[in-house]
Point group: D2
Chain length 337, copies 4
């Protein structure tokens, strides 16, 4: 922590700051400049920078950003690679996940799985438990949905990712699902993260609607700290004042994350934009920005989808996009299987 004293702060005021640092079991380091005295407070003991702002003569207090360790590129220089069913996320690999927003019926999920399989997809997505703003909206098929998607995936040789909403669902998910997904609203559900740190399957951690990149990496740290090193970050748009799109996709988060962390980062352009005709350009843009994968909503019959049909691609659109992505990837030294 760094405390910058006001221009003209008195000796007495400086002394009180130094004393307070010691009271808090930290070592003070003072540095006198021409206009300002700057005091560093070094050590393990946790202190709240705001306490110093309240002292007389203090101009500004700056906290060195809270440290994720295991998620940091300082801790691990090389890119982490997560591999599921032959699909790789990280390093120079771009992995693809595609499928419907929600598992709706046996017929629908088998039709989607067939389409995905024929489109060279190796991992299907599909929600069984849906976080809905309204208690009166469709809440998903639950366990029944997981059984259906498992059967469909097995038939077509696919792995599965699906959103887990709550600790008690984890055992069920371990039985049916290959990658557990944490939704944006649960990014700081720390108890859930702690439980997911103990499992032996990859976790996709979506960025919260109003989470800073630092908070996002701290949330990943919860999973890593418990021993699960298979974490995939997923940018899915943040909440801003702009209303033309559902969310504002923050693609610059990709190079920012790649610099700070070794973890793979994928993008969800479907939730990130909320509109089908924006999904293709944003998928291409994400890839050009250096992402390690994409998770895209595709539905065999979007007009009749129970949920988020408007942001789902038609299978034919997805296949066309796939071709463009394969052309694009080598320009940024990436590979798509």
């Amino acid at each position: 922590m760094i405390i910058i004293m006001r221009h003209g702060a008195s000796k007495e005021q400086i002394r009180k700051v130094l004393d307070f640092i010691k009271l808090k079991n930290r070592q003070p380091h003072m540095s006198k400049g021409e206009t300002h005295t700057v005091i560093g407070a070094v050590g393990e003991a946790c202190i709240d920078p705001r306490e110093f702002e309240l002292l007389e003569g203090v101009k500004e207090v700056i906290k060195v950003s809270s440290s994720y360790k295991l998620a940091s590129r300082v801790f691990q220089q090389e890119d982490s690679v997560v591999e599921v069913n032959g699909e790789k996320f990280g390093a120079n690999n771009i992995g693809l996940i595609a499928g419907p927003c929600t598992i709706e019926s046996e017929e629908q999920i088998f039709a989607c799985a067939k389409e995905m399989s024929e489109s060279n997809v190796k991992i299907i997505r599909g929600g069984a438990f849906k976080p809905r703003t309204s208690p009166y909206s469709f809440q998903g098929l639950g366990l029944e949905g997981l059984k259906l998607i498992r059967a469909a995936a097995d038939k077509y040789n696919l792995a599965i990712t699906s959103e887990v909403m709550e600790i008690s669902q984890i055992p069920m998910f371990l039985d049916y699902v290959d990658i557990l997904q944490v939704g944006a609203r649960n990014m700081q559900n720390f108890n859930l993260l702690k439980e997911l740190s103990k499992i032996n399957k990859p976790v996709i951690l979506k960025r919260g609607l109003s989470a800073t990149i630092n908070e996002w990496l701290m949330a990943a740290e919860y999973i890593l700290a418990g021993g699960n090193r298979q974490v995939i970050l997923c940018e899915r748009g943040i909440r801003t004042f702009e209303v033309a799109t559902r969310n504002t996709l923050d693609l610059c988060a990709i190079p920012v994350i790649k610099k700070l962390s070794h973890l793979p980062i994928i993008v969800d352009p479907s939730h990130g934009t909320g509109l089908r005709d924006k999904v293709v350009p944003m998928s291409l843009a994400s890839t050009a920005a250096g992402c390690d994968g994409l998770i895209i909503e595709v539905h065999n019959n979007p007009e009749c989808a129970l949920c988020d049909g408007a942001q789902s691609l038609y299978p034919e659109q997805f296949r066309q996009l796939y071709k463009q992505l394969k052309q694009l990837a080598p320009v940024v030294n990436k590979t798509i299987r």
Copy 2:
């Protein structure tokens, strides 16, 4: 849902929109203006407005905001009043809750409870399970903390509010705590809300950092829909670009909520500002704006608080504030016990 066609949209384009509405099991109502044709889609069936944005000739699609019912003032005209230990929230009553951020030790919580009791407070706050951005920060005393605060509260005749973070903790909270609090990060933890809808104790529902007022009322609807009508809303600041304060306290949410809903709304100026010297003016401002209560952090020794000491009032400051609030309340036709 309202669909506004572009100026000059063709008959064919309009027909397709009407057909699509019928396909979705809704009744279309068309209204031709001088410049635009406007089509309403009425009925119970849920449809996604974005699907219409993708049709040719459509200028704009407007969703009638998703409806909370039980939380609405249309459903219940009179203000709901929640009463705990003689303290009332709602109608013309302003209820006060005060106490430390965190339960730290037997000595600390008894000292705080004594101070609160001597300050005429009837409900003490104190966290036993703490949601922390970093996995390496102090996570609270847990069950041990709940036992300590219960003992202290019993000695001084206080009721207790404390934050519940997870479904499995609910039975434990029902044993020790009088008001269960849902933190900002859990505002859309729908599974937790559903479980809290079944209990027989009041729930304080904090507003999420990036939650709109509409989403907040929808979250309250989850609790109400399950049968628990004792819901208190708590404004605690939203996340904006401004960095001078920890959050931006949205005090206009008070009159907005009072118009839309019958539920009591209280304010947490401690988390809302993050700085002790802002707590007093924001408590006064909240009261002047018409809030139904305040939840304020007070610590017997803020400099040594384990958490958020910088936003905790000294007991003496709190007593002074109490006096000002009592003077202020009658100006806006409110009463403080």
Copy 3:
């Protein structure tokens, strides 16, 4: 500027940072902690902190926030007071400004001026040049409007505030207007600010929709630096994700500004909320939070106002509010004339 080196940064990396600081004509100060080396760069020469972020081994670079000087409470301890027509803003005085959004006609502005005069108001507001989002909206009466409001104000013994949009309008405003107002969209129109720094009349500087408090004070510094010390800051809401109100009124800006600066700060609850029934509670809340004044839209016939009628109070509502404000002010040690 403070540079924090990564844990484990090499001597070579540290040396390069020190060299770079010297290249930029600043003095480096190094401080080695247990985990991190911290380097300060002191001096007048302006450097861009981001240049250091790009060096190897650098964890984080922190800029000491750019310094306003004349606006700072360090420069002047006592509150500045601006007085116009017997109405005072600052110290323990709350000044009131009221009137219509726009000057519409001779009849309207004389009717409004009469109402204001009978309501004990000393300063009337009214726009002659209107910044409108659309080029097709009513743009104000211009010079004709200024002449009308001057005549009406003279008849009823009122001073005038009105928004100046552009440098070439300043001489005209100096002829007709007593307080020149800079709108939110022009807060960082630096050329306009520089010209206003040379005039001898007070300036109300509205906060930009997305301006931080620091940027706002820096904008005030432009006016102060040129020699005009009569600056009144005006909080009028910031842009956030919330759509229930036109803007989010940031009332905590009041105590924040009062701590950082000696300048008076007033609040515009009319633009800040956009709805008449929110103006009264937000006026009361602003006063309780310690503001130095209010600027409120009042219209003799809001239903027929050409602009913003929905956020204008009826004269009777304003008189009622005035009474409440007079009761409230003493609770926070303030006076309303």
Copy 4:
């Protein structure tokens, strides 16, 4: 405008709404659904939707978004193309602009112009008048700067773009500059826009820090409405809560704009990110998203730049980026000269 009545609104309440619409010189159209009555108000007369929100029985009022006309794709189906010095922006052309943030000296601007010319650039950028947050920061070389960049550009056969800050500067800019740029802070400086609508040179209109896409197009409408059809929109990042980057580059604005408008849209990844190592990935991403051009800061000696050196590319980096962009463009059916 659309007025949605509450469930159970009385006939009397509905009648009052209809009357109010007529009072405002609009035609009401009523449509009774099963749960809600919906009333449209059609016509030219301008009314404020908020006035209706204040009427009894009204649930919600929805404004059809304010209409830009000339900027709309409905007005003009084909993409507008702006051509300067052989460089084209729009349709399937991606135009490039590059150069230093600021004109610093004769030596610097000639060195930069030479580098640009050797990198196949046809349009150089460079600021002569700089909008600076602090009045104490370097404010640019002014007219002297414009003369220097003109001489350098002439020597190397380049066109020039530079930011105009104020109406009185326009004649000077017309003498020296080929494309006039409106900065983000001036996007809603409507008087400036009106004057620029009368000139015969292209205008780059940067998006305001907190401007919605709708407001941005309305600002463009000001320029178009006066007769200047050579408008280029420029996305340069919006202000959000995220602090890891200077701004949040909203790349989804590209497909949104392409759908709503025929105007070309370019991206400024230098200001949009604020960091050199983010400029390359964001340039590639912008191109993949379908932008019509890029404006990139390149400096012959970034470490010694007077302003924003940290976000300027080295000439060698720029040439490498150029190669990547040429490979990437065909994937999205675009051409770079």
